[in-house]
């Protein structure tokens, strides 16, 4: 039996399309975890990255923090958090995901603001724009493609890593992979993995659309 057969069997089994263990439900759970983790990471990472970039300070600290955060093994962190917090729930699952996602968001948003052409920023200050207005009306619109690319890579990492939530008894697409491994039903494993990959591609598509809508044509240019 080859992989395509696994995939075919998995997706054509109508039992896989219904109820709380069905694909729609698992997919929804996975999207929920991912969105929540991304939201928390953005709420932490964006303001710090953007303001640090605007002030031109804290670059080394951010880089060091991000390297450290990237070095943390997500799975190890998950187990540690579960033991430490003594509970099974979304909180221990969120912590490793956020730790993973916050690093690219922080670093890219910082770098994005730092790499904005200094001339318009100088002109904006010279015409009497407040510091916040300079950030929100000049720097962020110009830096938006890079900021979005940071969010996008964070989102893709979260989507693929959110499978580990299944280890601590949560739902999501990780269920298929982990249960499939335990039960030696490889169709499930491959089917789950395919869904995760598909979701990652959809994520890329969503970010493409967001960029089309949010980034000014004057900044997007020939890109």
């Amino acid at each position: 039996m080859n992989v395509l057969n696994f995939i075919n069997d998995f997706f054509s089994d109508s039992a896989n399309w219904h109820g709380t263990t069905g694909i729609p439900h698992r997919l929804l759970e996975h999207v929920e975890y991912s969105l929540l983790a991304l939201l928390i990471s953005a709420v932490i990472g964006l303001p710090i990255g953007l303001f640090a970039g605007h002030a031109g300070r804290g670059g080394y600290a951010l880089a060091a923090f991000s390297t450290a955060a990237r070095a943390l093994p997500s799975f190890g962190l998950l187990v540690l958090m579960t033991v430490w917090l003594g509970e099974i729930g979304t909180t221990p699952a969120m912590i490793p995901l956020v730790a993973l996602a916050v690093a690219p968001i922080l670093v890219t948003s910082y770098e994005a603001i730092r790499s904005v052409d200094p001339a318009p920023v100088d002109a904006a200050r010279g015409m009497g724009m407040s510091s916040a207005a300079v950030l929100f009306q000049v720097e962020i619109p110009a830096a938006l493609p890079l900021i979005l690319s940071g969010l996008r890579s964070a989102a893709i990492q979260v989507v693929s890593t959110a499978t580990i939530a299944a280890y601590i008894g949560l739902g999501g697409l990780g269920r298929y992979i982990i249960d499939g491994l335990a039960q030696h039903t490889y169709g499930k494993v491959v089917g789950g993995a395919t869904l995760v990959a598909g979701l990652a591609i959809v994520t890329i598509g969503v970010f493409y659309l967001v960029e089309r809508l949010a980034v000014s044509p004057g900044v997007r240019r020939g890109r």
């Binding site: 001339a119 318009p120 100088d122 002109a123 200050r125 015409m127 009497g128 724009m129 004057g218």
Partner: protein
């Protein structure tokens, strides 16, 4: 009036960029800060809108210390134009220009209407309004930069090498446009450049700074050229300042003759009579409208005006606009003319007379003698020069080309 009163700027690293500088910048005129690279021009300019905070002395705007009001309010009362325009890439041209009015709380429609008025004022075609900055040429972007600085009608305009990043032809056009706009608006302009020719062309007053941020000379350009304060200023002015100073002398008093001028439809007899009367070795042939066609020798002319083919004529070179362009332009025409005679035309390009190098040289001597007694040049000479630049066909052409370019 902006009073710079023994102002010093010492940067945190100990560099003294400006040292005890005192300048009085009069209202409604262009004051140019010029000097070699690193002499503190930008620093001085940026201390006026507090983009750089001074470390000694004070700056007064209409008698009040610029530190007396909130910094952003001060900056909103001063237009600021920088070298590469510094346009906001994410905003359309019209919205770039509307920035300051919007900051001042104007509603969008009023701000955009104002922006469109300004596009017209700085010579930008209305069709560019919805474009983004990257879709404009460098010269057009710089015009947008000027329009944006003028949008809220600030009394003061600070310009830091605004034209140094564009090619020489476009620069010439932009300089002429600035003079034209200034003639209409009468702003108090502080203009930074490292180009002494630009300083002389644009400045009502020119402050020459030397390295270390010290004032070397502060004078009207004519005085600068005729009486440089020291060797540094003289050196900075360059070699041909005698010639350059001639651009401050009007050609209005120049003696012209119409004797060697013949129309293309004159008869052979008329030509012969003219040749004899003028005693000049050449005759200037004009078309029936009075526009110059070229010079011709008497032998050829004897055949009669109508018999002459234009191809046989010597070129008449660029004529000068009599009374509007300067003695420098007249001399230039004479020097470049194959016959040594300069052709004077009116606004419509019709010949009003011709003049020889000898006559121009006499006029120069006369002007020097008179200027020595009269002192500094009149403002009207500058305005006339600006107008002359505006009617210069070469400039008009390159301007048209530029506004078409994308």
């Amino acid at each position: 009036m902006i009073q710079i009163d023994s102002v010093t700027k010492r940067y945190p690293d100990g560099t003294v960029a400006v040292d005890e500088l005192s300048l009085e910048i009069p209202d409604g005129s262009i004051t140019v800060l010029v000097g070699p690279s690193g002499c503190g021009k930008t620093t001085t300019l940026r201390m006026i809108n507090r983009m750089v905070e001074l470390t000694g002395g004070r700056i007064l705007l209409d008698g009040a210390d610029i530190h007396a009001q909130p910094v952003n309010a001060l900056r909103r009362s001063m237009g600021y134009v920088i070298q590469n325009a510094g346009l906001f890439q994410h905003r359309t041209i019209v919205d770039n220009i509307a920035t300051v009015p919007r900051m001042l709380g104007w509603d969008r429609d009023r701000a955009r209407k104002r922006a469109r008025d300004l596009m017209d004022r700085v010579g930008l075609d209305a069709s560019l309004a919805k474009r983004y900055p990257y879709q404009l040429s460098g010269g057009q972007q710089q015009r947008v930069g000027v329009a944006r600085a003028l949008a809220a009608d600030p009394p003061v305009l600070l310009m830091d090498e605004p034209f140094s990043a564009v090619d020489p032809i476009v620069r010439k056009v932009l300089q002429a446009e600035l003079l034209r706009i200034q003639a209409e608006l009468g702003k108090t302009i502080v203009f930074v450049t490292h180009d002494i020719d630009e300083a002389i062309k644009l400045g009502d007053m020119v402050a020459v700074l030397r390295t270390g941020g010290k004032l070397a000379q502060y004078a009207p350009p004519d005085e600068l050229l005729s009486a440089p304060a020291d060797a540094f200023v003289e050196d900075f002015l360059g070699t041909d300042r005698g010639i350059r100073r001639l651009s401050f002398f009007t050609s209005a008093g120049l003696e012209l003759t119409t004797a060697p001028i013949i129309a293309v439809d004159s008869s052979a007899a008329q030509v012969a009579e003219r040749t004899k009367a003028s005693g000049a070795p050449y005759l200037l042939l004009t078309d029936t409208d009075g526009k110059p066609l070229g010079w011709t020798g008497p032998a050829a002319a004897a055949k009669g005006g109508a018999a002459l083919s234009v191809a046989e004529l010597l070129p008449h070179g660029r004529p000068f606009v009599f009374g509007k362009e300067s003695l420098r332009d007249a001399l230039d025409c004479a020097v470049l003319s194959p016959t040594g005679w300069a052709v004077a035309v009116d606004d419509g390009g019709r010949v009003v007379g011709v003049t020889s190098q000898t006559t121009i040289a006499e006029a120069i001597r006369g002007a020097h003698a008179e200027r020595g007694a009269a002192g500094s040049p009149s403002a009207s000479a500058k305005a006339a020069a600006a107008e002359a630049a505006a009617v210069d066909p070469a400039i008009a052409e390159s301007k048209a080309a530029e506004s078409k370019a994308v």
